[in-house]
């Protein structure tokens, strides 16, 4: 469902993503791990069509993001890293706006908004102004907009960032459940999330994939500790602070 081949992104002389290739199939949750500045968000922004690629290709459900971005974008639900929202809108107003932007109207729009509010536990704040929400609710509101059109592909950039432990647990469960029917690519800093929610994970460092496998494979590569593997493959070329 997500096919990324030879993806490269350069900003001036800096190479942010270097010839990256991976795929995510239906029913798969791919954890995208890496230290800060590894190129995770840049990759996700190219996969979702926000950033143009320097080289390579991204296909979403067989549709090229480079040749046919409008059609490819219809297939994706995206939660950006900082969970951006329009602070002057209410939660329900924002979700209705996003549903309209996704081409939904009438009863389909109403039921999509209701369902996403229910899925992300937003009932108690549905009519509240976004500007007054806590970080956890803001994150869930942005997650809700990514689910509105029931996309086949979900791209979630640090979906549990800023959530309390209970909310983290709920979102992980939600990702795992959604992953049965969809292809999910999600980035995280939290290594426990790989075993809790992913069927497969890749570790990226300096724009290159340095490890790829199931959580069990990666744990055994790290001799019983995913943390040790992460430390080993991501710090080898990074100068000491």
């Amino acid at each position: 469902m997500i096919e990324v081949s030879d993806l490269t992104k350069r900003f001036g002389t800096k190479v942010a993503v270097d010839d990256l290739s991976f795929s995510v199939k239906k029913g798969e949750v791919l954890g995208f791990l890496g230290p800060n500045g590894a190129g995770k968000s840049t990759t996700m922004r190219m996969v979702t069509g926000f950033l143009p690629v320097t080289a390579g290709n991204v296909e979403i459900c067989g549709i090229s993001m480079i040749d046919n971005p409008k059609e490819a974008k219809r297939k994706i639900g995206y939660l950006p890293e900082s969970a951006p929202l329009y602070n002057d809108m209410t939660v329900i107003g924002f979700l209705k706006f996003c549903a309209s932007m996704r081409g939904l109207s009438g009863s389909a729009k109403r039921s999509a908004v209701e369902k996403s509010i229910e899925t992300c536990f937003l009932q108690s704040v549905a009519r509240q102004s976004i500007g007054t929400l806590s970080k956890g609710y803001r994150h869930r509101t942005c997650l809700a907009q990514s689910l509105l059109h029931d996309p086949e592909v979900l791209v979630l950039d640090e979906p549990t960032d800023g959530l309390d432990p209970n909310q983290k647990l709920e979102v992980r469960k939600l990702i795992k459940n959604l992953g049965k029917e969809k292809a999910i690519l999600f980035s995280t800093h939290i290594l426990e999330e790989v075993t809790a929610a992913c069927t497969r994970a890749v570790i990226v460092d300096q724009g290159v994939i340095v490890a790829d496998g199931t959580p069990e494979d990666l744990t055994s590569q790290g001799k019983g500790s995913l943390y040790d593997l992460f430390h080993k493959v991501t710090t080898s070329e990074t100068p000491a602070a």
């Binding site: 922004r45 069509g49 950033l51 409008k70 059609e71 219809r74 995206y78 951006p84 602070n87």
Partner: protein, 243 residues
């Protein structure tokens, strides 16, 4: 369809914040106040509203239009919502047009709310209402031009204050270039070419013709050309920032 969705969101957003209300009221009050004070409305018996009322509109609009629209794209950059817009299956042009039209409606409303001036001159005498309508059209075109300039400037920055200062500066230059006192000063220095160029580039002369009921085709071409260049420039600027 998406243009309409963005238009509605932007328009609602203007009415959920006090800025638009404040600026519409300030414009109504100041434009009327200027007409009755330095505009000498009573002394010159200005039934067409040309010399007392419309004359000062560009001077007010060059500050107030950027104040309403400075957040247009700067805020999208600042909050990161541009990333959401950029990943929706919509053309960037639809978002630019939707936002632009919503701001245009605010200014159409601000101008419409100065209707007591029309009522006053019709009550006092028998004015040429076509000339008054033409004056309003000229004012609205100036609003659209300044709005397009602000749209372009706000696409370059995430800071609303920077967007405001830079937009006011550009609108100020566009206004002053064709303003009578400046043109007369340049004429005294003897440079006919400079006078000609400034009259063509500055918006005041185009606007002034409209307030006299003489909107020329070349003025329309110039103002709509400027608006188009700014909106296309916004599209290119937003695209290039992602590359």
């Amino acid at each position: 369809m998406n243009t309409l969705t963005i238009f509605k969101r932007e328009l609602t957003s203007y009415f959920t914040q006090p800025t638009a209300y404040a600026i519409v009221i300030i414009f109504g009050l100041l434009s009327t106040l200027l007409a009755f004070t330095i505009g000498n409305f009573w002394a010159i018996a200005d039934a067409s509203l040309h010399g007392s009322f419309f004359r000062y509109h560009p001077l007010l609009l060059m500050i107030l239009v950027p104040a309403v629209s400075m957040r247009q794209w700067a805020d999208e950059h600042y909050t990161g919502t541009i990333e959401l817009l950029g990943t929706f299956p919509v053309r960037l042009g639809s978002a630019i047009i939707g936002k632009f039209l919503a701001s245009a409606v605010i200014w159409a409303l601000a101008l419409a709310l100065t209707f007591p001036m029309i009522w006053t001159v019709n009550h006092l005498g028998d004015p040429d209402n076509w000339t008054i309508f033409s004056g309003y059209l000229g004012s609205f075109l100036v609003c659209l031009t300044f709005l397009a300039v602000t749209t372009l400037v706000s696409s370059f920055t995430r800071d609303q204050v920077v967007a405001l200062i830079a937009s006011v500066a550009i609108c100020c230059i566009l206004t002053i270039l064709g303003w009578d006192p400046v043109i007369n000063e340049i004429r005294r220095s003897g440079s006919d070419f400079a006078v000609e160029a400034m009259t063509k580039i500055g918006i005041y002369s185009h606007f002034f013709d409209a307030t006299l009921g003489r909107i020329s085709f070349s003025s329309l071409i110039y103002l709509f050309g400027l608006i188009t260049v700014c909106l296309v420039g916004t599209n290119l600027a937003l695209r290039s920032q992602r590359a």
